[in-house]
């Protein structure tokens, strides 16, 4: 039975990864799950300098979901390399590093730093965080800027580049095509949806940042459609994500056109989810007599 898939030049032993920002730097989960069973570890977004993040409260639970406005708190490139890379580089599975910046120049510089580090599996460009005023989302919602930032990173590194798309666009197709044209090897679809909750007792927003990004099972059907639309528009592989809790959820994304998937918010409440998805995927393939997971990719039948 083959479960392995390719994301650009990177081979994953199975198509199940984790979503950036929901898995820390991997090490936090090491006592609870065997990280070496994953397709890849994807770390929280890193820019050049350490980032303090937003004020609290930073998350609020909503029906079948979570709204967050963490603000990309992180140790910066040097802090990451010092504190977390010694652990990650010993893993048998690839590490995908999610990077961001406030300018095109900074994105490229972070890409260059990780290119020089050696041993990194791939870079995921976060052009779509809804909780950062400068950088983040506006790169992902402006086709021209998106092309520039992907192009600059493409020049800065030979590592596989994955562009993490914003869902906050009328039509994802031109954005997917722009990232592909600028040299992205793959797309992650997608980041969280802009959202808000209000405490009716205090008449205050539930988050200090007022609004945040919605994730969790409530967004899954929207994410599946975005993957399906983008898959029709580009030839590069797609990593699908949004509310995955089970193998059945993951298989939907594959059938919509994703080559791999990422488990996100579920890591917060059930750390075993990614491993359960892998086990369930094997079981489904066995049940259906399917020898290669790639048979699922884009196999949804929309004709009559």
């Amino acid at each position: 039975m083959n479960l392995s898939v390719k994301i650009g030049a990177l081979t994953l032993q199975n198509p199940v990864t984790v979503a950036s920002g929901t898995f820390g730097y991997g090490v936090e989960y090491a006592q609870l799950i065997d990280l070496n069973q994953l397709g890849a570890v994807v770390v929280k977004g890193i820019r050049l300098e350490p980032v303090r993040g937003n004020l609290t409260p930073r998350t609020v639970e909503v029906t079948s979901g979570l709204i967050n406005a963490i603000g990309l708190q992180g140790p910066g490139v040097d802090g990451f390399i010092r504190k977390y890379w010694p652990f990650l580089k010993e893993l048998k599975v690839p590490t995908i590093i999610n990077i961001w910046g406030t300018t095109v120049v900074e994105y490229a510089e972070v890409a260059r730093r990780f290119d020089a580090l050696g041993g990194v599996g791939a870079l995921e460009l976060n052009v779509s965080c809804p909780n950062i005023k400068e950088g983040g989302a506006h790169f992902g919602t402006d086709v021209k800027l998106l092309g520039q930032v992907v192009g600059a990173c493409r020049k800065a590194t030979k590592l596989p580049l994955i562009t993490k798309m914003s869902p906050n666009v009328v039509n994802i197709t031109p954005y997917a095509k722009a990232a592909e044209a600028a040299g992205s090897d793959a797309l992650s679809i997608m980041n969280s949806f802009p959202a808000m909750a209000i405490d009716i007792e205090t008449r205050r927003p539930s988050l200090a940042n007022v609004s945040g990004g919605l994730t969790g099972p409530c967004i899954k059907p929207i994410a599946v459609k975005l993957v399906w639309e983008a898959a029709k528009a580009v030839k590069i592989p797609i990593i699908g994500m949004g509310g995955i809790q089970s193998a059945a959820d993951a298989i939907e994304f594959l059938m919509a056109g994703a080559t791999a998937v990422a488990v996100g918010t579920a890591n917060f409440y059930e750390p075993q989810t990614a491993l359960q998805v892998i086990a369930g995927l094997r079981q489904f393939m066995k049940q259906k007599g399917i020898g290669d997971v790639r048979e699922f990719i884009g196999s949804v039948q929309t004709g009559k």
């Binding site: 898995f23 979570l66 917060f268």
Partner: protein, 261 residues
């Protein structure tokens, strides 16, 4: 840190909105240190996804207990669960209290309401017995007083409405106690943030060490989501640290109180 399915042994109302739950958690219970917590997934909750953190109250062999207040949909559903039903639990989690060394400091505990539960194991495992000051709004907010008596500790109660013990705030009782010069004391506190802030201020005023258990909203409980952060001094500024893994217990002098929201 272990994740396991645990079985409810008992789940009984204590007073008013407070419940005591005992669970059989053979892999977690023996590892628990004072001040640590368990992160609990209440399986019958369908649309509320996140785990709920609870301070661990007592430990006995393969069982552990929590003392909780029904304050939202999670704890309400939990309060209706019966013996034999199961929960998913990750624990023990967090950086707890420093148990005093034999012939070391004399602990002076300060609790607000059910924050008292988080201090029980510390009292039980401390070689020196001390005083616990506990405050609440009403009589029903004062919990586990007898358990502390049973350990041979002195319990001083304050209630805001005067229905039990002295009338007033626990921090007023603390001030009275601190004015009595006694060498080698150390404060340990758990309760609402305004109370902890007042304890921190008094500790500074009397130049006493204080360990405070901070209570913040959590999502993951294991250090990845960065929901439960609190401002901790770093150089001449401060940085956000995680209540779930860097805490919940912090040295009062390290907290950047001016930035606490």
């Amino acid at each position: 840190m272990v994740e396991q399915t645990v079985q409810i042994v008992s789940n009984e109302r204590d007073t008013d909105l407070y419940f005591r739950l005992i669970a059989r958690a053979p892999q977690i219970a023996p590892l628990v240190q004072p001040g640590q917590f368990a992160h609990v997934r209440i399986l019958p909750l369908r649309e509320a996804l996140l785990r709920r953190p609870f301070s661990i109250f007592q430990v006995s062999g393969e069982t552990l207990s929590i003392l909780y207040k029904t304050i939202g949909k999670g704890t309400e559903v939990l309060s209706r669960m019966r013996p034999g039903e199961e929960l998913s639990m990750i624990g023990p989690l967090g950086h707890g209290f420093t148990v005093p060394r034999p012939k070391g400091e004399t602990p002076l505990l300060v609790a607000g309401g059910y924050g008292m539960a988080a201090l029980y194991l510390l009292a039980q495992r401390s070689p020196q017995k001390g005083i616990v000051l506990v405050g609440g709004r009403r009589r029903v907010d004062i919990l586990c007083e007898e358990e502390f008596h049973a350990l041979g500790w002195e319990v001083r109660v304050t209630t805001e409405d005067g229905s039990h013990g002295e009338t007033g705030l626990v921090t007023q009782a603390l001030l009275t106690e601190l004015k009595r010069p006694t060498p080698g004391r150390k404060l340990f506190a758990c309760g609402p943030t305004p109370m902890l802030k007042a304890v921190g201020r008094l500790a500074a005023e009397f130049d006493l060490p204080a360990e405070l258990s901070l209570d913040e909203h959590m999502s993951c409980g294991i250090g990845v989501c960065l929901t439960c952060v609190v401002p901790i001094k770093a150089g001449d500024s401060w940085e956000y640290q995680r209540t779930c893994t860097d805490g919940p217990v912090f040295d009062s002098r390290e907290v950047a109180w001016e930035a606490v929201e």
